[in-house]
């Protein structure tokens, strides 16, 4: 959605036309940079049986981001949701992507479990944002779900910071619950994230996602889509190829949203082993 079309006449009227154009041009450039930082989905081809990435930013730049990193042995897929959306969210997402890159590309961390990656990321975010547990600290953070797949064995490790993982096996949906913590300072005390190991089977589908889809208000009902409906809709499309699942999900989202404003960025990463 272009920024001119959004319902923010109060702010827009304050900006002179030329300034507005420059501002939008600059945001579009930022969008290019943000997209360039995120991995090319094509790199997942060959590693996965099938996959899709549904990425619908609310504004030009997005607070949601996806991440993938592959070696011969391992594959890492993550979907992150930063506090806020638009420019502040995008800045946080760039932090998230950079830190993930830094961790994954370090030789020392080659064999890290999924939860340790999140533990390390949290340290980096807390340090970057100078968070010490003081109530005056910046409260920004990232919710994320991360999967590490060991290619030869097919073992999948999942760890989540407020973001769950959905698995569909033989038509049955299972949900792996995340830790109720974020990548940033915790209200009382930070604890280690949990590592969940899943013995995968060929044909298993997995979904990582932000809360943008389920939190979207409907035009007709003026109610949120809700997570339980989101799970139901994912489940209902499970037999379709991934690309078609993406299209159905996008149409379902647009249909639900109608002419209301999109409330948050939407990201769904689906992949099949």
């Amino acid at each position: 959605m272009s920024i001119e079309k959004q319902d923010n006449p109060g702010l827009l009227s304050l900006l002179p036309d030329q300034g507005m154009k420059d501002h939008i041009a600059s945001l579009r450039y930022a969008k290019m940079i943000q997209h360039a930082l995120m991995p090319n989905p094509a790199m997942l081809k060959g590693m996965l049986k099938d996959y899709f990435i549904l990425f619908l930013p609310r504004d030009i730049v997005s607070g949601d981001f996806y991440y993938a990193f592959c070696t011969r042995q391992k594959m890492c897929i993550a979907a992150g949701d930063c506090t806020g959306h638009g420019v502040p969210g995008a800045l946080m997402s760039i932090l998230g992507i950079s830190f993930l890159n830094e961790i994954m590309q370090s030789d020392v961390n080659l064999n890290l479990n999924a939860n340790r990656i999140l533990n390390l990321m949290r340290e980096k975010i807390m340090k970057a944002l100078h968070q010490t547990g003081d109530y005056r600290d910046a409260q920004d953070s990232i919710d994320i779900g991360i999967c590490i797949i060991d290619c030869p064995t097919g073992k999948l490790q999942y760890s989540g910071a407020n973001r769950p993982l959905i698995m569909i096996r033989n038509g049955e949906l299972s949900e792996f619950k995340p830790d109720k913590m974020t990548l940033g300072v915790a209200p009382i005390r930070e604890a280690s994230f949990t590592n969940i190991c899943i013995e995968t089977k060929p044909g298993d589908s997995f979904y990582l996602f932000s809360d943008g889809f389920s939190d979207q208000f409907g035009e007709i009902t003026d109610k949120k889509f809700k997570y339980k409906h989101f799970k139901r809709i994912i489940h209902s499309f499970e037999e379709l190829p991934m690309e078609q699942q993406k299209q159905r999900l996008e149409s379902a989202f647009n249909e639900w949203k109608g002419k209301t404003q999109q409330v948050d960025d939407v990201l769904i990463v689906g992949f099949q082993l």
Binding site: N119, E123, K124, K127, E190, N195
Partner: protein, 762 residues
Amino acid sequence: MMKLKAFRIRNFRSIVDTGWQNISPDNITCLIGQNESGKTSVLESLKVFYSGIISEDVLRSDLSLPEVSCRFTIPKGWLINITDNPGTELKELLSGLTHLELTRSWIADLSSVINVSGEISQYLDSLEDAWRIYLNDVTIKLDEEMISIRDLETTFSGLTEEESDIRSKLSENEGEKFGFWLFWKKPAEVENQKNIHFPGLKNKLNEIKKQKEEINEILLKKQLIKRAGEKWKKLEEKCTQADNHLKKISFKLEERHQKMTLLMRPIEDEEDTEWKEVLYDFRKTRSDREIRMAEIESHIAFSGYIIDGSTEEEAEKMVEEVIQSYRSHLNSAILGKKYFEYSPVFELFEDFGSLLPNRIDMEDIISGNVNVEGYKAARNFLSLAQVDYSFFQQPSSRILKQKIENLNHTLTHNFHDFWQQSIGRNNKIHIQFELDHYNASYEGKAGKPYLEFWIKDEGERLYPKQRSRGVRWFLSFYMELMASANIRDKQIVFLVDEPGVSLHARAQEDVLKVFENIKDKIQIIYTTHSPHLVEINKLHRVLAVQRDDLDSRRSASRILDPLQLSLASPDTLTPLQSILGNPMGGEGFSSKRFNLIVNDTGSFYMLNAIILLMGFTGKVCVIPSTNVSSIPLLCNIMMGWGLDFSVLLFENDDEIQIAELLKNSVFKTETDTRELIIRMPENFLNSEDLLSTLDFKNHILQSREGITVPNSVYIREKELPRNFILSRFLSNVKEGKIKPTDFDEETLENFKLITGVFGELK
């Protein structure tokens, strides 16, 4: 009720300002430092905080006067119960306080006053400030009024002069006119002059009269103000005189102090009557000055009401009210004195001051004759035995003797709990007392009862004075401390200067056991040079005292708290360093266990904590090297003694080098079958890296900031006192404050890795 929490000492011997120093929360605080570093000064200053009595030799050469502050913990709301009519605001403040600060400060005549300091005094000062501002405002007004009165009076006298001038002129003119009429001179001319000058002068005269009346009226109204102002000036003059006189006397006092501190010898003529007169004069002038200052303040307030138009009677009444509204009836000194009544007793243990006598008359004990030799020790002894004088009133001597025997047995038994030394293999000493009566050969005392004390062992029965210096010291110390612990109505802070200097190392450790036993009842602060009197895994108890300039005995002392110990000089830390090779309280090198040499004390703490956490039961004895470079030396010693050992090396530059050195130079003659060097994986730069970052933050640092470097690098970069924080970790593990379930899976994996290494040591 009041428990000492922290102290601050200023201008006491070599101490300029220690800053607030917390004493150990577990009630045992140890001061370490070189000779002449100022340790004893700390104890003495705390003692004089309680007694208030100092001599000139505690003054610094700049003659700045000492000030000792103590901060006490108190139950919340307790202060309200002991403060008379605190007033609403003060009551609110007192109800929330959980600590109290008292400061004793000395003045030139070396007398002292206890003030409440901290938050309470800040509040009282704010009241005092408001009162000063009020007085200042009135003073300015009064001054202005006095200037205005003086101006009016000057104008008035100027007008009076002018008036008399005009009158004299007029009378001259009248004379001239009269002359014309008399001598018929130029009548037409004079008539003209009269018309011109006379009305002008007369008008002016009238004008002056009018002005004078107006001024007079004002002056009459300001008569009271004038009187008040004049009295104010007189009072100020008296005060200035007192000030000047005080300055003169202070000069004399300083001269005497200078003589004392520079020559460093006591003033010989203690009975100097002239000196006594000077002191008397100083104290009297000071008290007079205070009275005059109060008089001035009250008079200024009175003048304020006079300026506002009150009568003297009305003003008198209102002064009382204004003083009450601005000034609390309580001030820092009144509250300080009141609260000090509840202060713990600070008792400095004097080595042989309470030495048990061989014999003491019951009469002296009953009459409380403190001057008789050994009175204090005998009193302590009876207190320890929980015996009062009625005990001896038992009519049956057989029953009394039996009771005394039972008591002797109990006393000895209790003493043995602490004094584990024996003469030879199993020959332990027994302490006992007996009641007896003087025989006829003691003239004047025949038939009177006395107590006799003995310290006996299997071989000999000897009087206390016949025993060794060490036994006498320990017994005296034990009795004093235990007797103090029996005093229930007041908290006691027991100050001990270098306990057990004449004791064997083991006996010194017994001293620590006594401290541990009574620490719930008595707070102890002691100084020591002995490594046996410092518990290496309780470094939080240690305060290091050293000079600012280590090479100068004249430089000021400073105190380093446990978190700053790494800044202390090597000499200051000697007692700590001496025990680094033996920090497990006697386990040290072992021929029965496998010795594992590690890089330093920090790793020693860390690994022992892991051993405890993982419940490792293998026979491994961790031996800390004083630093990495000493590892080859330790290896040589081990090889020389034929002990089983290995060296655990982490992956940092120093230890990688040492590994090479050991391989090439130290172990070159050893067979390859013995694994003498254990190398940790490369992500472990030091022992603290065995913890995950999260556990490191939660259990070692106790902070929450983000850390993106290995734990060991973080400690180095932030220059944290590694030994201290790792010792605290071990201590928390020992006390059960940290359990294995508190760690995340990353840490536990590492712990398993290291205990796996220990398990393979054979």
